[in-house]
């Protein structure tokens, strides 16, 4: 049997940006998959612990009998197993390196700085967290200008690896804007990225897996209450 004909499943949650990366990549390749939803706020299932014993996290891509973990590694795997167009990674090694560099930056620095805004206690801490986060956005706006070469996406005419790596965070970015009361992506500071964000979210491979901002905000409230030890709201 062809590798690419084996059954495909994604273990994840609708709210996780990392899980979204895997689903967007599969959608781009028109690969049918079963979405196995975890209810992480209720604890980690046996299935998850078995599938990702090292990190115990989502997403996990289940391809036949193979288990692949770590969202960006999954995206590269998908691109390699289903090499037909559209390509997710650029064919040029230098372009790939630039995309991987920025994806690492997003995961190691930028997304944690966004989370810091939500966890900040008091106005001063919040202001400092937002300032740090906005510095990162300025870098990303500039990187977008360099990467896109006049095209609509980081990946060129179509979404690519870096669009996926970055765009998956847009839902949570919007929730952060709502809860902090501050426009993080703005016409003034990030004019190119604001338009990119609209285009990304409208993309056929993205729109059905990008969570609705209101639903995500409600979910965030529920998680925050749980974390504080409050009783869950009646749903």
């Amino acid at each position: 049997m062809e590798k690419s004909d084996l059954k495909v499943k994604v273990l994840g949650t609708w709210s996780s940006p990392f899980v979204m990366r895997a689903r967007i990549a599969l959608n781009m390749k028109s690969v049918n998959y079963e979405f196995l939803q975890e209810r992480l706020w209720e604890g980690k299932s046996e299935r998850l612990l078995k599938s990702n014993p090292v990190h115990k996290k989502v997403p996990v891509l289940i391809h036949g009998d193979k288990l692949i973990c770590e969202s960006l590694i999954i995206v590269e795997y998908i691109d390699e197993v289903w090499p037909s167009a559209p390509s997710i990674l650029h064919s040029d090694p230098n372009e790939r390196a630039i995309a991987r560099f920025w994806a690492a930056y997003l995961d190691d620095k930028w997304f944690p700085s966004m989370r810091s805004i939500g966890f900040a206690r008091g106005e001063d801490e919040k202001k400092a967290a937002i300032a740090e986060f906005e510095k990162g956005l300025v870098l990303l706006e500039k990187a977008f200008g360099n990467c896109r070469k006049g095209k609509p996406f980081f990946g060129g005419d179509q979404i690519g690896y870096l669009d996926i790596a970055f765009g998956c965070f847009l839902g949570w970015l919007r929730v952060t804007e709502t809860t902090s009361g501050i426009k993080l992506l703005s016409e003034a500071k990030t004019p190119a990225l604001i338009n990119w964000a609209h285009r990304f979210c409208s993309d056929a491979a993205v729109k059905d897996v990008m969570p609705d901002t209101e639903k995500l905000a409600e979910f965030a409230k529920m998680i925050a209450s749980k974390r504080r030890g409050e009783a869950p709201p009646k749903s």
Partner: protein, 227 residues
Amino acid sequence: MAEEVKVFGTWGSPFSRRVELALKIKGVKYEYIEEDVYGNKSPLLLKYNPVHKKVPVFLHNGKPIAESLVIVEYIEETWKGNPILPEDPYEKAMARFWAKFVDEKCLPALWKAGSSPENERAKAVEEACECLKTLESALNGKRFFGGDTVGLVDIAANFIGYWLRLFQEAAGHDLLSAEKFPALFKWSDEFSSCSVVKDSLPPKDKLLAYFKAHIAGTKAAETNASN
């Protein structure tokens, strides 16, 4: 065509040595520029890596790349001989998974175990041992993580293959020992003595002295903080 291949690094950094090791495996000639990362980062380094301002930076025909594992993958894709990654997509994904595990979990845990204050030491050591145990399982009876030859995971784990034994000597503990992790210990011997690796390792005495000074510095800061 004269190719420009440059590595901006620092002698003791496992991260810049990863890049040099990948180039040596591929037989690629390069110019090495030593950076004074503690004293005085060069204008070129700051120009080529404005985001992180760190070594290593790799320059290929005028185009800079930063982040050691990103650079190593670039080297793999640019020079095709002596592959560092397997061809099979699943095996490749597994190699990337373990390389990431080394960087994100093992190295921070090992560093913490060696430089934690006394009261946090035991917990830090336990976490570091968990990481080493997990990493050891990835060896699975092979000579190298890459199989018969040094591959991406071996390169990523270079700190564990060579630096760690000197670090633990300076810190006065014994995280990686033949008793506790026989397969990983054996691998570290194989790694640091294999011909393509041993010529690109920092000198033992200099590295040990560096670690001793660093740990003494950390201890002094601890003492001062508690006085």
